[in-house]
Symmetry: C2
Subunit: 311 residues, 2 copies
Amino acid sequence: MIVTVTLNLALDVTYRVPRLTPGATHRVAVDQRAGGKGVNVARVLRTLGEDAVVCGFAGGGTGRLALADLESAGIPARTTPIDGESRRTLAVVDAQVGEATGFWEPGPAVTDAEWAALLHDVDAELRRARALVLSGSLPLGVPDDAYAVLCGRAARAGVPGVLDADGNALRHGLAGGPDVVKPNRDELESVAQSADVREGAAHLRALGARSVVVSLGAEGLLAVTGEGSWRARPAHPAAGNPTGAGDAGVAALALGLARGWTWPQRLAEAVALSAAAVAAPLAGSFDDEAYRRQRAGATVDALPMATTGKG
Amino acid sequence: MIVTVTLNLALDVTYRVPRLTPGATHRVAVDQRAGGKGVNVARVLRTLGEDAVVCGFAGGGTGRLALADLESAGIPARTTPIDGESRRTLAVVDAQVGEATGFWEPGPAVTDAEWAALLHDVDAELRRARALVLSGSLPLGVPDDAYAVLCGRAARAGVPGVLDADGNALRHGLAGGPDVVKPNRDELESVAQSADVREGAAHLRALGARSVVVSLGAEGLLAVTGEGSWRARPAHPAAGNPTGAGDAGVAALALGLARGWTWPQRLAEAVALSAAAVAAPLAGSFDDEAYRRQRAGATVDALPMATTGKG
């Protein structure tokens, strides 16, 4: 079982309209489901046959709607109740242009007692976990080093951790010594202050990460680890919706930790699942046929040791 | 106390954005409150010092959010729980253009048992009510003659009723003999099939309404009753947000029924409150200063008897 933590758990709402016309009133068709990066990871893991438990904060009517959706999707959740109202993220999809317009509500603020209760809930799930996934932004009221604290709890329980975060949450999280950190190029640059990907990855390792897997969008992944460095590429360029592609990659990396896969195996799975997620319309899902084709053709090449720190 | 029934009770959500840009992602500021025409009427009544109880269907997390807002606004509610999820109506307000873009979710479907439970709840409130207000559209699953049935319950309890509806809901509601029906010009024409307002109003009386008050937008009201006909005009043209102006007028008409005001008094209050609601930013509120000025200057003129049905 893998625990995914989504501190900014959300309700993802989709409004479909024939044509988005500013100033007009639209009658909409509605879809809504639990959202947030860790929720997407859990959905992918479940599809892959691995049990996943969703942890995070949930509050108010919106939190209840998100939990009801997780229940109907068969994904167990041990969320920590908060007084605040969980946020909604709305996408208005224009059928004519095929374009989504996004509206992100601010997340709720969390109290010290609620943060302590979350740690307690995650600790309880870590007892039977084989990996921990920490994804996404931090809500107001949670300490900047929240991810370092959670990595520490996982380490104490003997559970390896994957961290997928940005900016301050990533920077402070590194001190907790996560087994895998998965930044994209922008996230890496925001912390490492280097435009060179291998150099940046080495810098994140110096700051505490045991291994760094940088997602390069459609070009695949670059991994820098204590056992070597690799460059992984998908079999075919993927066209579609890139939302959730990173989460599918994280699911593969967590599964690799939990199941003791080699690095080349983890990376091949990660690029294949990411590309297959681009081919699927919803975050948290992937196209099964695309996954099989990508997995068969994905390439992973070992990189020579970087002698100067330039790669 | 006045009972307002809002069968399609909603959660009115407002997203404020600096500029609405189709295809972009926006971080939004959120306001949300209970909505629906009868809820607006209850808010106005409460501000005027009259107790109002909100009846209607409420379900799911969205229904709970609407009820929590009513509670915090100090408006008592006796809503009937449903298995379905109450709808949201979203307005995205563009600060630069000052324009609202609306998104209306479909309402939930209601079962026969839920409709029977609502009748029971409304009956209980009618025992201590001095007027009943029936406002807005009918949810799926409720009979077309829902408003006629509710008018019949009110009549049996000796409580006068005001009906503010459109299309089929209005047409079938007339058979219940509502004391006051308040269509706007379009709603009147949809049922009366006549472009002449006085003729149309007389037709609605022939179909069962005891009196008909037609709202003419910024031009005021025209009333056709068993005691005479009147033309009421606001003191000044009102500029602002017309949403909720009709509901403020309905609140005045219901208050007039409950307190035994004369028709000229009811109509003067109704045009003044409608105009003062246009001057306030939110439906269910009105501008106090504008109300005083409009009330002082509103005019109500008796119309000569229509001898031919042409007015």
